[in-house]
Subunit: 205 residues, 2 copies
């Protein structure tokens, strides 16, 4: 019998903060300042914690960064794909996918662009865990999209004149490119315009 998931009511003094809320704050700092650019004092302050609390809860800076990347991947980083799979038909799903990117990348939710494309990509060169996390994220995202597209082809929503995995890759790649354009200072309006063009591009495929 597997252990019950019921909260085991831990022993000592309880945490005075919400782990995910703290991570969200850390995400914001890393997203704007990058890994090396974010100092632990600023991180702790943004998280509403003291440094020893941060170290006790998340380990060292590198470990905190990994936690933040995973948190981002489960929240903001997943929004576009969630919008994609939640849509009624394939056409509006593709439009919703790119429309969601405008929200997440325009800078109102943290830094401009994408934490994975613009920050993790940089650290990937020197931090192997980040490199694999980034690679896995790309593969997973593409797979999610491909699954939905496959279904759309089966139901006749989309023509099967083009390999599903290529269309999925195009969507992921346009997402990365959009992130870099956002990071280069593209305004929300410009991103929205790109989003419409991108949806056209993918549909016309």
């Amino acid at each position: 019998m597997v252990e019950k998931k019921s909260e085991p009511r831990k022993r000592g003094r309880p945490r005075s903060f919400d782990t995910n809320a703290a991570l969200d704050a850390a995400v914001g700092v890393f997203w704007r300042e990058g890994y090396d650019g974010a100092d632990t004092a600023s991180l702790a302050a943004a998280m509403g914690l003291t440094k020893p609390s941060v170290y006790a809860a998340f380990g060292d800076k590198r470990s905190l960064f990994m936690h933040a990347l995973q948190r981002y991947g489960a929240t903001t980083g997943a929004e576009a794909i969630q919008a994609f799979v939640a849509a009624e038909d394939a056409t509006s799903a593709i439009a919703a996918f790119f429309a969601a990117l405008v929200t997440t990348q325009s800078g109102k939710r943290g830094g401009q662009g994408c934490l994975l494309a613009c920050v993790a990509a940089q650290c990937a060169e020197t931090m192997p865990e980040v490199k694999t996390l980034l690679a896995d994220s790309l593969v997973a995202g593409q797979a999610h999209i491909a699954d939905r597209l496959e279904q759309a082809v089966r139901t006749g929503e989309l023509p099967d004149d083009y390999p599903v995995h290529r269309r999925a890759r195009l969507m992921i790649d346009l997402m990365q490119a959009s992130a870099i354009r956002a990071r280069s200072g593209a305004t929300a309006d410009m991103l929205a315009s790109l989003a419409r063009e991108n949806a056209d591009m993918v549909l016309a495929r």
Copy 2:
């Protein structure tokens, strides 16, 4: 009358190093380690100089980084577009463009990916000069490609069934995405495969 370009044989002790060679070395370090990750001691060592020489020649770290970005943009970063405009016909130009990316992004020439897409993009958030340089690079690259495509449409090499600037943007965007995939660990073989698919994608547009 404008000043002659002839070497004016400066006054004091002459430089004992080649400025561009030193910058190339700095590019390599920044490309791998990022801006904050690269310390000035390592930079100077890689450049074959002492720190005071670096500061005398290029200013502070931030200024050196800007010089390195410009050097990269004029050399490695321009290779794909050079291959594109140098090709005979439009079809092979597009193929050559993506093929060149495999060489520049696979990691044998510095870090994996692209210094602009993977490193400058990160710093853009906190360094306005980098943000504008990045934006300008994207615009300039897209303009170069669009010019050549325009010509190809006029000569009938390419159909005019799709706006030239959109096709050019697609190429630039696929370049950025390729850089991120390279940074995530894609091997040269994988990049080459992507390059072929990308050329197909752009041509079939």
